[in-house]
């Protein structure tokens, strides 16, 4: 499919989602909204994992920073519940980016497994504060938020909130799409493929990675603000290692370096975890099984399936065509 066709498909799917969702059951609306919020988180991680080749095991930290900031502002200072909601959004993005700017100083130099471990440790630092800093974060119990903001429109209404989240999702998708298509995004891919060559070509690869890290943190913070208002409750559970791992799996499941793949992965994970769990008790086998099978047999994720089918067809077809496809993919 050519790029224009892909964009068109995404547009049609989003439009269909916007039209159909209000008619769904209230539970399903919440699930879709949840998938969209986690989709923003997954897309932010995709910038690191898919495009820059940095597998972060601590993306939940930025979600947590955004969510806790929202909750603390709302409960301690009564802030962010009217028009100031938009200020809270900005602050959430800023705190996510600022946290990433701090963490990046430690993490960016590391590569491979060491990057995994250092981001894990950074994520655990945030979790530790959330879990133990009782006076600020409410400790293990977390913080209950007041009703969602109201400014002319009532976000307390789930359908309205869904549209707001969908708006943020689309905006994030567009911004990140522009980012990865920009020269900056291209050089990130270059770093993923061969960092040394990029450095020899004169690129400051550390700075490129650092900026990508900060951008990912900002979008993670945005997801956090939306997450806090969605669930009305923020707790250390939102920041635990399993949440970061989930985000990674969403990206890998959907297909790294595709942006929308992360969102699709988020949809699948939310569906399996929250919907299937109400239907069958053995849902976690399905989730674990899906992970294992994807990693073993679908390295390109769900978004990689069409490509695989095409390749298989090409392989059974003329050998010359296969070669062309291969050289094109290189």
């Amino acid at each position: 499919m050519n790029p224009r066709g892909k964009i068109l498909t995404v547009l049609v799917v989003l439009l269909a989602l916007a039209v159909v969702t209000p008619f769904a059951s209230s539970y399903l609306i919440l699930l879709i909204t949840q998938a969209l919020v986690l989709g923003i988180l997954a897309m932010s991680l995709d910038i690191l994992l898919g495009f820059t080749g940095l597998p972060s095991l601590g993306q939940a930290a930025y979600l947590g920073m955004g969510a806790y900031l929202t909750a603390i502002l709302a409960t301690h200072y009564d802030f962010g519940l009217g028009w100031s909601f938009w200020v809270a959004i900005m602050l959430g993005i800023l705190i996510g980016a600022a946290t990433a700017a701090l963490f990046g100083l430690f993490a960016i130099r590391a590569t491979g497994v060491y990057f995994l471990m250092i981001t894990l440790a950074l994520g655990m630092c945030v979790w530790g504060l959330a879990y133990r800093w009782n006076s600020m974060t409410g400790g293990d119990n977390g913080i209950n938020l007041p009703a969602r903001p109201e400014f002319g429109i009532r976000l307390a209404d789930d359908v309205t909130y869904f549209y707001v989240v969908l708006g943020f999702f689309v905006a994030s998708l567009v911004m990140l799409y522009i980012l990865v298509k920009s020269p900056f995004g291209r050089s990130l891919v270059g770093i993923r493929e061969r960092e040394l060559r990029m450095r020899i070509l004169g690129y400051n690869t550390w700075l490129h990675k650092y900026i990508a890290f900060i951008i990912a943190g900002g979008f993670g913070g945005l997801a956090g603000v939306l997450w806090a208002h969605l669930s009305g409750h923020v707790s250390p559970q939102d920041v635990i290692l399993a949440t970061s791992v989930d985000a990674l799996l969403m990206v890998v499941l959907g297909g790294p370096a595709t942006l929308v793949g992360g969102a699709i992965g988020a949809g699948v994970v939310v569906f399996l975890r929250d919907y299937l769990s109400t239907v069958v008790p053995w849902w976690q086998y399905v989730l674990g099984g899906v992970y294992v099978l994807t990693i073993l047999y679908l390295p390109g994720g769900l978004m990689g399936i069409p490509e695989r089918i095409r390749r298989r067809r090409a392989l059974s077809g003329s050998p010359a065509e296969t070669k062309k496809l291969e050289s094109a993919s290189n």
């Binding site: 491979g112 995994l116 250092i118 655990m124 530790g128 504060l129 800093w133 390295p299």
Partner: protein, 286 residues
């Protein structure tokens, strides 16, 4: 805060460190030999505890439960390495995610088989109660934990330093390609190390179960602590695991006692600093 406070807290920290050593020594060896970040390691710990509970329930023997649980979980680790991890080749991210997939599967299996309640592994009478040493009442079980870690650590050290198998493992840690080049079957070394790691983790689960309890979620609770040990000590180093366990055990205990609000932060922040300044940890080699 007198001398007694410091002594008792130190003792508690050291005994917790002893438990961490059982978990972290396997983790660090697996990482050293295979460069795999095994996120299913906490699950081995949990499974070890649960299997021991079942053995105790059927036979009533704690002494029997220890080896049975450890060996059974070692088998699980062995199968996981042979059937799933080996074919994957060297790809850190996919390996990590695969171990997570298994961690979830084990979690669900444990929940189905043993339920969601917090259970206690009750050690034999001999290990219960407390004893008086130098005017302090110390729980026997904690002394036993320290002793157990000491004995196992010494055995591991002797095997690693004094035997041919140990030399092969060290060679695989230092440079696995070179080791293969001189005729060491690194694939078999990996298999052995993975099974050994699972064995030690399960052992930790049985012993830790008498002290922490066994409950769903324990796996992902203890795993990051074990990683802190591995990173501070240096990935692949047994000495590092021993020293790291002591540091983390003490830091955790004193952190909780002295600065409860930031106690976990005081545990993970040093881990970040060490990774940033010296990624190979205190005892790891390039």
């Amino acid at each position: 805060m007198n001398a007694q406070f410091w002594l008792i807290q130190s003792f508690n920290g050291i005994s917790y460190g002893a438990l961490l050593f059982l978990l972290a020594s396997g983790l660090t060896l697996i990482f050293g030999v295979m460069r795999i970040v095994n996120l299913a390691h906490g699950a081995y710990f949990l499974l070890g505890g649960y299997v021991a509970l079942s053995v105790i329930a059927t036979t009533g023997s704690w002494v029997l439960a220890v080896p049975v649980a450890a060996l059974l979980v070692a088998m699980v680790g062995l199968v996981m390495e042979r059937v799933f991890l080996r074919p994957l080749g060297f790809d850190p991210l996919r390996q990590v995610l695969l171990t997570v997939g298994f961690a979830f599967l084990f979690q669900q299996a444990a929940l189905d088989i043993w339920g969601g309640d917090s259970l206690d592994i009750i050690p034999p009478d001999m290990l219960r109660g407390s004893t008086v040493i130098g005017g302090f009442h110390l729980p026997v079980y904690r002394i036993f934990m320290i002793g157990m870690a000491g004995v196992l650590g010494s055995i591991l050290w002797l095997v690693m330093e004094k035997t041919r198998a140990g030399a092969m493992i060290r060679a695989a840690v230092d440079d696995s390609e070179m080791a293969r080049g001189v005729g060491i079957d690194t694939s078999r070394v990996s298999m052995f190390i993975f099974a050994l790691g699972a064995f030690l983790a399960a052992l930790g689960g049985v012993i830790g179960g008498g002290f922490l309890g066994i409950y769903p979620g324990l796996d992902f609770e203890i795993l990051p602590v074990a990683f802190a040990v591995v990173i501070i000590g240096g990935m692949g180093s047994l000495t590092g695991a021993a020293v790291g366990s002591l540091i983390v055990g003490l830091a955790d205990n004193f952190g909780k006692a002295l600065f409860p609000e930031v106690s976990y932060f005081t545990l993970y922040a040093p881990m970040v600093l060490i990774l940033a300044v010296r990624p190979t940890g205190l005892f790891g080699r390039e």
